[in-house]
Symmetry: C2
Subunit: 232 residues, 2 copies
């Protein structure tokens, strides 16, 4: 009767918590093996195998065999876009994943939201970058300004590389504890990665929490709030 894209089919694929967690784990941009994804989703390898098969058949993921491992990855940019769009809706509507255990102060301060930074620190970063003209909003989207490009590149961010990816460079994401936005997208992920690489923060692999050392946080804040100066 009707034609047109079958949105329900794609949506239902992402609608299963296990599959959604797997796709989310891949949003970082790195391909992951089946076992990693199973662990990430909290299910048995056999179950994960079935899910991954569906995701690949449906064109959401692609797979690359390497030895006895099979590495999965987001198939196309449009998938990442759809995930980001769903994230935005979920964040606005206040649908957060279950978080057993008490909410402690450290979590409010800094934590990871999938692959990017969240919490007070992240909200502050986002606000500063907007204010300083590193980023600008244009009709709901967030962009890096020309001035911002210099600032980021000087700060050690490999901008050009990030832009080749399948995800939007910038996205805003509602912070549930602060009720304001923080930075997501490829750049958001890179900022967290950079903080970890430089030893300012460590990610507990178990709980996905991020903790800054006292000194690390000072350095991080200094890094992102360097004055954006006109070329000397």
């Amino acid at each position: 009767m009707k034609d047109g894209p079958d949105i329900a089919r794609v949506a239902s694929l992402m609608g299963d918590p296990a599959r959604a967690n797997m796709v989310m784990a891949l949003m970082g941009g790195r391909a992951l093996a089946a076992a990693d994804l199973a662990r990430e989703a909290g299910i048995a390898p056999s179950t994960a195998s079935g899910h991954l098969d569906k995701l690949v058949s449906a064109g959401l993921l692609k797979v690359r065999s390497q030895g006895r491992n099979r590495y999965f990855d987001i198939a196309e940019p449009d998938v990442a876009e759809a995930v980001e769009a769903l994230t935005a809706v979920a964040a606005r509507a206040g649908h957060l994943r279950s978080r057993p255990g008490p909410r402690d102060e450290a979590m409010r301060h800094a934590r990871s939201c999938y692959d990017h930074l969240a919490g007070r620190v992240a909200v502050d970063l986002f606000a500063r970058w907007l204010e300083a003209g590193v980023l600008c909003r244009r009709g709901g989207d967030v962009h890096v300004t020309r001035k911002g490009r210099d600032f980021l590149v000087r700060g050690g961010v490999a901008l050009a590389q990030l832009e080749t990816g399948k995800r939007p460079l910038c996205r805003s994401c509602m912070d549930w504890s602060e009720r304001r936005h923080h930075l997501a997208g490829m750049l958001g992920a890179e900022v967290l990665a950079l903080a970890v690489t430089r030893g300012w923060a460590v990610r507990s692999s178990q709980a996905r929490a991020v903790s800054f050392s006292r000194r690390g946080e000072t350095e991080f804040v200094r890094w992102y709030s360097r004055i954006v100066q006109p070329a000397p």
Copy 2:
């Protein structure tokens, strides 16, 4: 354990065919009553009521009571964006809604894809507008150029109104019969609406098919392929 937006919850809401059809029916921008949506989705009113309740509770739809009717509508722009994003994935991956019956030539020629035009005519329109500089692509997105604005406004398109909406103005959508893109989004819907309003085409309310009269099609093609001239 983990925080972050619960994408699975939102996705699973759109993952049910009945709900997806209802949301799709609302993408046209007009609010619809519960009974209309039930019919659109092909389910009993009681079933629809349950679905609509979920969609509203989840923040995907909003409802307005008027007399004994309840009119439903897309709650926020981000929902429309997510739907468009899912549409794009589904279209690329070739997931089309069931279409029983033989594929006939007329369908390939012109038909509707939800609320916008699809088929050879639509693909031609899209290609011409890109070529003529009415539209331009920028990183996967499609935009109306300044030149394009004049062209459209002169052609009777109330551009300003369209932009206030909750949907992106332009979107490209994969045409399954032509394997090329056609125009979706708010402008895509408007083009179809305009063709109907001017009597060039009629929509069969039953099958959502679009048929152009011989003369209507000529006029329509002339309309969209008027030469885009520099100001005299």
